[in-house]
């Protein structure tokens, strides 16, 4: 409604984020690794980047990444999909039902199919009937939760090992490893050497016991990035999310693109649910998704509506989740040290650069916060479980609060498009 005057800044941001040289991301990753490995040696919180924790993190990140990817497809075409959660839920049922009766590979198809069916409902409501996207998404979540648990009661009751809220155990998808590497890397990791052990841990997590569906998920991420940004069809799809009426004048069938994008979005969200069922837990359980559809959406926003960014966001949330599940109150506690020191450094830097117009209050505020965090670190040994569980959500809020201005969503995202109503 009021977005007509805001064109210039986003345009600039979309061409290139200002001041990000090519070495920026490698430096950030390398720097984080240095910090983490130093913190590990200093605090003795060895689970901070053990291969076990990282493997768990990858397993937990994958459903978030797939759900986020689902969100990406739909929002790139201009349809906000808050119904990811509901689509995931029917995906978990689809994977369990078809996985139990016809084997895990068909289970994947079941998850994708159920998700796509609910994607079609969302597309019908938002694209064809022009309903508010968020309203429709909320209804989809309600419908998905109901359908999932109704069908579970109907189909799993009475099966051996199954019940109204739980499916029988399912056959597993294969796990793949690079042969001969795991033992060697584990040895290096066990030595605890600074930096070397951390690298070995990361490498081991990436090469040992990787599930086939994880690999498929990574391929889907790469494929989506290539497809949406490097092909003509992808360009047309994104044009529907940026300027649908302009796309219409160029002969793009906007409605068809939007509909298909939401369909793909549902399929990916369904697959995310299928991952939970087939890989993460080996059975369907009611309430299994636990709001992961919403987190996937948050990961996508965190990642600035880009596949690489959303993968990073998913890994971050997956990592926080893994640490929490492994009872890592001490690990999150260990992070207080670098966070406090970083804040302190930031505050001092702001104070030093006061001459360049940085405010005194801003610097003092950061230093005060840093002292609080450091005191917290010094006077406790672990963070309560509930706070560990909160970490991903607080991280999302903080990231959005500090970077919302940098983020740029597709220009016509969430707006209802009616064919032939350009003004």
């Amino acid at each position: 409604m009021t977005t007509t005057q805001t064109a210039p800044p986003p345009l600039q941001a979309s061409i290139a984020p200002p001041g990000r040289p090519a070495w920026y991301w490698p430096a950030v990753i390398g720097g984080s690794l240095l910090v983490i490995s130093t913190v590990r040696v200093l605090t003795g919180a060895n689970d901070i980047d053990s291969s076990g924790a990282l493997m768990a993190a990858i397993g937990l990140a994958m459903p978030l990444a797939l759900a986020g990817l689902g969100g990406l497809w739909s929002e790139r075409a201009g349809v906000v999909n808050i119904g990811l959660e509901g689509m995931m839920i029917v995906g978990t049922w689809g994977a369990a039902f078809f996985g139990y009766h016809y084997g895990p590979w068909v289970g994947i198809l079941g998850a994708v199919g159920m998700g796509a069916a609910f994607g079609a409902i969302h597309a019908l409501a938002t694209v064809i009937f022009g309903v508010d996207h968020i309203v429709s998404g909320v209804a989809i979540n309600l419908l998905g939760a109901g359908t999932g648990s109704y069908l579970a009661v109907r189909t799993f009751t009475g099966l051996p090992g199954g019940g109204p809220t739980q499916s029988p155990p399912l056959a597993q998808l294969p796990f793949l490893s690079v042969p001969g590497l795991g033992e060697v890397l584990l040895g290096i990791e066990k030595s605890g050497t600074w930096l070397l052990a951390d690298l070995a841990g990361i490498l081991r997590a990436l090469t040992t016991n990787v599930n086939a569906l994880t690999i498929i998920g990574v391929l889907l991420l790469v494929f989506s990035g290539w497809f949406l940004w490097r092909t003509a069809i992808g360009l047309r799809l994104r044009s529907c999310g940026e300027a649908p009426y302009a796309a219409e004048t160029l002969g793009v069938n906007v409605l068809r693109y939007k509909f298909l994008a939401v369909l793909v979005s549902g399929a990916l969200a369904g697959l995310a649910g299928g991952f939970l069922t087939l890989v993460a837990s080996n059975l369907y359980r009611e309430g299994q998704t636990g709001g992961r559809g919403y987190i996937g959406l948050a990961a996508m926003i965190f990642g600035n509506w880009r596949p690489g960014g959303l993968a990073a966001g998913a890994v971050l949330f997956g990592y926080a989740d893994a640490i929490q599940l492994r009872g890592g109150g001490d690990v999150i506690h260990a992070y207080l040290l670098p966070i406090g020191l970083l804040l302190l450094g930031w505050g001092i830097w702001v104070l030093v650069r006061r001459a360049e117009g940085k405010s005194l209050a801003g610097g003092l505020w950061r230093i005060g916060m840093s002292l609080l965090v450091l005191l917290w670190y010094a006077f406790t040994t672990a963070i309560p479980d509930e706070f560990t569980s909160m970490t991903p959500y607080i991280a999302t809020l903080l990231v959005l609060a500090f970077s919302a201005q940098r983020l740029r969503m597709p220009a016509a995202d969430g707006q209802v498009y009616r064919k032939g109503e350009a003004d």
Partner: protein, 371 residues
């Protein structure tokens, strides 16, 4: 005037249509799943027993508060998905304060309710401030705040919990007799011992206040204006940023009330068994009732009716009571579609009427569309 009557009819047609669609689609689902269709509708369309009727009213009174909280946001194009988190924080705070019994009797109840409103308002204000200050969408921030609230309350509950003999449930101090709101006994009228929450009057009062503020005050006008056209509101001197925060605070304050009928009329404490998901149900009720004070009351009753009668599905028809979630989901989805279709139809009728009148009145200039 004549036109308005037609519009009114169209407005009622939409929810009726939605319910019919829900009936048809649910029947199809039941057929496909191999469940007995007729038995299900026989259970759901039985007249509620007196006991159930009271439960329906009770449930509706809670859902109505949640729906009003959501509707305040909707009126301003704000999507407060965080009612869930807001009412949990608020109920917990109120339960702790009321359980401490600093104040006697009714004073304790009133102050606790005010504390609940304040807690809900503060929790919602976080999302409002993040929206106007940092440009964070309230949809995402309220979802995140829901989760944070869940864990935060779980953490606080561990600290505030009192041991109850012979039970594993953790809960706050149980309220003394004089700090409970007595229920309304309808024994003579309905012949059931179950009582209607005394705080049903709170829901009614909130509904009347909601109607009055929105349609009879300058503030309400500004709020609706901001929701319908932000630029028009700015032009008429509304401070939109302030409006967003105020609307979120109001919405959160009402959300804080959601748990009150339960706290003072049924549970008398806040425990880990407290009812969840009332915020999301409130969104559905608000959508079905079109944010209208009376409409939402009717849809809250419909929701309560469906929830209560579905309890008998498993026993009487051998069908999972989760079916009710599907029915409700279909109702919400088809009602929003129906409203949209009706709105467009109304718009088209109005456009063609204006075009006709203009054509008839003047031959001065060529007329195309009315845009």
């Amino acid at each position: 005037m004549k036109f308005d009557v037609r519009k009114f009819g169209l407005g009622l047609a939409a929810p009726a249509l939605a319910i019919v669609v829900a009936l048809v689609l649910t029947s199809l689902i039941l057929l496909a799943a191999g469940d007995p269709v007729l038995a299900v509708w026989q259970v759901l369309f039985k007249a509620p027993l007196p006991r159930q009727a009271v439960a329906i009213v009770n449930e509706a009174s809670v859902l109505y508060l949640s729906a009003v909280a959501v509707a305040i946001g909707f009126k301003m194009n704000l999507f407060n998905i965080g009612v869930d988190g807001q009412y949990r924080i608020a109920s917990f705070m109120a339960a702790v304060f009321a359980g401490a019994h600093f104040l006697p009797g009714w004073l304790n109840i009133i102050v606790s309710i005010i504390i609940a409103m304040a807690s809900g308002a503060i929790w919602a204000a976080i999302a409002g401030v993040l929206k106007v200050g940092r440009g964070v969408s309230e949809v995402i921030s309220t979802i995140m705040l829901n989760y944070i609230a869940t864990y935060f309350v779980a953490y606080l509950l561990k600290g505030a919990a009192v041991k109850i003999e012979g039970s594993n449930a953790t809960s706050t101090q149980v309220l003394a007799e004089d700090s409970r709101v007595p229920g309304i006994n309808l024994e003579g009228l309905l012949g059931t011992g179950r009582e209607v929450y005394g705080l049903v009057f709170l829901s009614i009062a909130v509904g009347i206040l909601f109607w009055f503020i929105l349609s009879k005050t300058r503030f309400g006008f500004d709020l609706r204006a901001t929701g319908q056209s932000e630029s028009a509101a700015v032009a008429s001197g509304v401070n939109v940023k302030r409006m967003v925060v105020v609307a979120m605070i109001l919405s959160g304050a009402v959300a804080g009330l959601v748990g009150m009928p339960l706290l003072f009329g049924q549970d008398y404490a806040y425990g880990d068994t407290v009812q969840a998901g009332l915020g999301f149900a409130g969104i559905s009720v608000a959508l079905l009732g079109r944010n209208h004070p009376v409409g939402m009351a009717v849809s809250a009753l419909v929701w309560g009716y469906l929830n209560q009668l579905s309890n008998g599905l498993q026993i009487s028809a051998g069908v999972s009571d989760r079916l009710v979630l599907i029915i409700q989901g279909i109702i919400v989805l088809s009602v929003v579609i129906a409203y949209e279709v009706v709105r467009r139809a109304g718009l088209r009728m109005e456009q063609s009427r204006v075009a006709r009148e203009l054509d008839a009145r003047s031959t001065l200039e060529p007329k195309g569309a009315t845009a």
